[in-house]
């Protein structure tokens, strides 16, 4: 139990997927301009990560059994893509309100490297089924935290856009604020080991 808590906390704070492992940067920088979309995307990522982990871990055991573990990449990406499609169709029919909240983000997640990343990472670390699910949940929560914090920074407009030199406007300024956020997460290094 203690180990599960450790895995969870380390994924949220120390090894935060976005801010210290550089996974899911595209969506982190692209969708964090509004708080609503940041929370929606974060929620959808948590959901898909846990779901993908539930499915990919048994599949890897199956692949190992037949000694074709090298097919991991091909199989995982197809399974995740199909899963996302399926979940979207299911939600459209049976849970329209949830679909409204998360739906538009779901297709974007198929090519989000964080989802495939967490599935492969759990396998590489030789986690048990329970551990890998906790790992995926922690990674998702970490992504959510990073998204919400960064959306907060960007929505507040902490810097005066008119005082910024032309060449720094837009993306460079966003990257530099991401630097500072990431630097503050460095403070958690060594918290658990």
């Amino acid at each position: 139990m203690v180990q599960l808590i450790l895995i969870f906390m380390s994924m949220v704070l120390v090894n935060n997927f976005v801010l210290s492992q550089f996974l899911g940067i595209c969506s982190f920088l692209g969708v964090s301009n509004k708080m609503d979309s940041a929370t929606g995307m974060g929620g959808a990522v948590i959901f898909v990560m846990v779901l993908a982990e539930l499915v990919t871990w048994p599949i890897q055991q199956l692949l190992n059994k037949f000694d074709i573990g090298y097919l991991q990449t091909v199989v995982f990406i197809l399974v995740i893509a199909a899963l996302v499609q399926f979940v979207e169709m299911f939600m459209k029919k049976y849970m329209p309100s949830l679909q409204k909240a998360l739906g538009i983000f779901l297709p974007l997640i198929t090519t989000n490297c964080a989802v495939l990343g967490v599935a492969i990472l759990s396998i590489n670390n030789n986690y048990t089924y329970i551990q890998s699910i906790v790992n995926a949940f922690g990674a998702g929560v970490g992504y959510f935290v990073a998204m919400v914090l960064f959306a907060g920074v960007r929505e507040e407009k902490l810097w005066d856009e008119s005082g910024v030199p032309a060449a720094f406007k837009g993306m460079p300024m966003i990257l530099i604020s991401a630097t500072i956020l990431s630097l503050s997460f460095m403070g958690f290094t060594g918290l658990f080991q």
């Binding site: 940067i25 091909v74 993306m171 990257l175 990431s182």
Partner: protein
């Protein structure tokens, strides 16, 4: 759309449409694997190899693949080549394989590869697609090498493992860590903006909306990011 010459296709990806610094695609591997020059070049060349092969195959199959299921087909082709590269690296360059780690299988979800398949290879001839793959791949490799050099030089005082700066230099560990990656990337974009005098800024957008895949990916109108500031139409017309 004016017909481009072979040379133009090849050099397009190097500077004018540099996939990382101008189109802002594939940021994850760029930030994560550019901690040293060797890692940057290794990652860049692996991605280039996958990009060229997948561009050629997808271009060959462009009349065979039904339009509706083209994205899964592309993903299978790309994932196949990624597995080949992964096994080759594991066999012949184990130390590089170890330091790139998770990011080798993640070449599959690199936006650049799927983006070029969708935006270029499924509309153009095999030779043009191969040239486009080479150009884009080298543009990616170039950016990673530059970033890798800067971070390695400032973070460790070495270049490709060789001591360059003398003992007077105190390595700045910051540049090897995650925040250093964001910082160097930001500064590089500033430099590109300065060199191109802001021309590269125009019609440029970021994130999923910038991805050439975006429309086929969601199947609906872009709602997350204001369509006015995406410049998506402009990009589509250009490509």
């Amino acid at each position: 759309m004016a017909k481009k010459s072979k040379l133009q296709i090849l050099t397009n990806g190097l500077i004018k449409e540099n996939p990382v610094l101008v189109l802002l695609l594939g940021t994850c591997p760029t930030l994560a694997t550019s901690t040293s020059l060797i890692n940057g070049i290794g990652m860049g060349l692996s991605t280039t190899a996958v990009l060229i092969c997948s561009n050629i195959v997808i271009s060959l199959l462009r009349k065979v693949i039904p339009d509706k299921v083209r994205i899964p087909c592309y993903i299978v082709v790309i994932a196949g080549f990624v597995t080949v590269v992964q096994l080759l690296l594991e066999g012949y360059a184990p130390s590089l394989y170890k330091s790139l780690g998770l990011f080798i299988p993640l070449i599959v979800v690199n936006c650049i590869i799927l983006g070029r398949a969708e935006a270029f290879a499924n509309k153009n001839t095999v030779i043009d697609s191969a040239l486009d793959g080479i150009g884009m791949g080298l543009g990616f490799t170039l950016t990673l090498s530059v970033m890798g050099s800067i971070r390695e030089l400032l973070g460790m005082g070495t270049l490709a493992g060789v001591q360059v700066l003398g003992s007077w230099f105190t390595p700045i560990g910051f540049f090897l860590l995650a925040p250093g990656g964001f910082f160097v990337f930001g500064i590089l974009i500033v430099l590109v903006n300065l060199i191109t005098k802001g021309k590269a800024l125009k019609g440029k957008s970021f994130g999923c909306a910038a991805c050439p895949m975006y429309n086929s990916c969601t199947g609906e109108e872009p709602r997350i990011i204001d369509p006015a500031d995406t410049g998506l139409e402009q990009k589509g017309a250009e490509a």
